[in-house]
């Protein structure tokens, strides 16, 4: 199916976990540790979906999201954060889904599959 996903997450262990889980589910996955790095990768490669943390150093998730959407309007974005408090805003930012960080990888994989229609 060759869908390509970019995981943007400053916590290295979480980044590796998500990349492992999504690869295991059959996706082509890249990682970035902050928004700036994400935009650089986004310029070089085509991605179908981005999993985005909000609280990150260098460039936070909200700004990153706006810049990503400037580059590619139809990219699917899942906000993935430890904070429940942004939940009311994510649609206005242009994201497609909002997940609170949890140990349920099934939830994450299902949401990715749902958005990518696979």
């Amino acid at each position: 199916m060759d869908k390509r996903i970019l995981v943007v997450e400053d916590e290295e262990d979480i980044l590796n976990l998500y990349m492992d889980v999504l690869r295991d589910a059959g996706f082509d996955v890249d990682g970035a540790e902050n928004g700036k790095e994400a935009l650089e990768k986004f310029g070089k490669n085509e991605y179908d979906l981005v999993i985005l943390d909000i609280r990150m150093p260098v460039m936070d998730g909200i700004e990153t999201l706006a810049r990503l959407l400037e580059k590619k309007k139809d990219v699917k974005v899942i906000i993935n954060t430890a904070y429940g408090s942004y939940k009311d805003n994510f649609l206005t930012w242009g994201a497609d889904a909002y997940l609170i960080k949890s140990s349920s990888m099934e939830e994450l994989v299902n949401k990715v599959k749902e958005l990518l229609n696979v």
Partner: protein, 440 residues
């Protein structure tokens, strides 16, 4: 007239020292009856209370014998007028119910209060309104007038020595009426002022109480901050542990012997997630959902929840509810608060013991008592009982009593802990019966 002026001058000096109504009225009447004063036998003061003149105070003997006895006693003592008036400062007054006589102002002749004192010598001269209250003639009726309204009436006579009431007496009474009115009006103003001051003081106390309550709650929003940081800090490591164990659990490469072990890790991570989720629920929704609760039913239910724990630890749980009290509170929050208290007792009773739960009404509050006969709490610990994350236990966050206190405060209640080492601990929770939240 000079002598009369001098008398009035002396009396006036004394009267103006009194601000308390009873004391001032006593002085007014004493000066009227004192030999050195205006020297009448009896003086009655009727006060205007909302259109009714009612007897407020009376000075003078009941019978002739009493009158002469009193006069003789007074003449033996070397007291002057000022001393006599000063004695009013220590007196207490109350009228026997039979003496409370009232005159409706409607029956008082028009313009009565605009004129000066009147001398009544014959029964037919007596206005109807005063017929019931005047039992001896001649008498003088002295209207007292404030700035814009009648203050009352003084009635004087010489029932026992039968002296006449002279024109000089009437003129002196006219001046005296002005003085007395002035003094009475001042006491009324003073009373009003005092009442306002009491109201202000009460309002101030209430404000202070409210301020303290707000301060306390503010501390708990600080707790909320800490807990919320805590929750977010924990979410990441739990996600990693749970995520990887889930990944392993699904992996085809995992040897079957390791499967139950990985499953245990996964379950544990999920459990941790539930704990922090519950905690975040607590700090997120502090508005209690108030319902009417029956103490007995509620406490029996709580005790039933602890059944297994107490039996395993050989603890006897005694429930004593004096009467079936009803109150308003948030059942789930209070369950949480009370279970925290009871679980602390259970933990303290390592070698078994007795926990007593009591409930009774106290000053309009519902008082819950949780007593154990455990080892007690060391004094240095007692100080830090409600400080979040302050714990000596191997397990737990040290949030138990902090959250309990927060819940009790949300119900406008209070919690007190008394502990004696070697004897046990008593936790008292006071909740207002009508509940505390917005819905209460």
């Amino acid at each position: 007239m000079d002598i009369e002026f001098e008398k009035l001058w002396r009396i006036s000096g004394e009267l103006h020292l009194s601000l308390a109504p009873e004391e001032a009225l006593c002085k007014i009447l004493t000066a009227l009856t004192a030999g050195e004063g205006l020297a009448f036998n009896r003086a009655f003061l009727y006060e205007n209370k909302g259109g009714v003149l009612s007897l407020r105070m009376k000075i003078g003997a009941e019978t002739e014998e009493e009158a002469y006895r009193v006069w003789e006693e007074i003449s033996k003592r070397p007291h002057g007028l000022e001393d006599l008036l000063k004695s009013c400062e220590e007196k207490t007054f109350d009228l026997e119910p039979s003496r409370i006589v009232e005159i409706s102002m409607d029956n008082v002749p028009d313009g009565f209060f605009d004129d000066g004192p009147v001398k009544i010598e014959k029964p037919e001269e007596l206005p109807d309104a005063f017929k019931r209250v005047i039992d001896y003639l001649p008498a003088a009726i002295v209207p007292l007038r404030g700035e814009n309204h009648p203050l009352g009436v003084i009635i004087v006579d010489n029932k026992f020595n039968r002296d006449p009431i002279t024109e000089t007496d009437i003129r002196t009474l006219e001046l005296y009426a002005a003085l007395a009115s002035n003094v009475i009006e001042r006491t009324i103003l003073f009373e009003k002022l005092q009442k306002k001051q009491d109201e202000l003081e009460k309002a101030y106390r209430e404000l202070q109480e409210y301020h303290n309550r707000v301060l306390k709650l503010e501390k708990f929003s600080a707790l909320g901050e800490i807990a919320s940081t805590f929750i977010h800090e924990l979410r990441t490591p739990i996600t990693i542990v749970g995520g990887y164990s889930e990944l392993l659990y699904r992996s085809k490469d995992l040897p079957p012997t390791l499967l139950p072990k990985v499953e245990t890790i996964l379950k544990t991570a999920r459990r941790m997630e539930t704990i922090i989720k519950n905690l975040s629920e607590y700090i997120k929704s502090p508005e209690p959902d108030i319902k009417k609760l029956k103490v007995k039913v509620f406490l029996e239910y709580l005790c039933s929840l602890l059944d297994i724990e107490i039996r395993r630890k050989n603890i006897e749980l005694k429930l004593h509810v004096e009467e079936d009290i009803e109150f308003y509170g948030d059942p789930s929050l209070l369950e949480h608060a009370f279970l925290n208290i009871l679980r602390n007792s259970i933990e303290a009773l390592k070698d078994g013991g007795i926990i007593q739960v009591e409930c009774r009404m106290e000053n309009g509050n519902v008082l819950f008592l949780f007593k154990d006969n455990g080892p007690g709490i060391p004094p240095e610990m007692l100080k830090n009982l409600y400080i979040p994350f302050h714990t000596t236990k191997m397990q737990g966050l040290g949030l138990g009593l902090a959250i309990t206190k927060k819940i009790i405060l949300l119900h406008n209640g209070r919690i007190e802990v008394e502990s004696e080492q070697g004897k046990g601990t008593t936790v008292s929770v006071y909740l207002p019966q009508r509940g505390g939240g917005k819905n209460g």
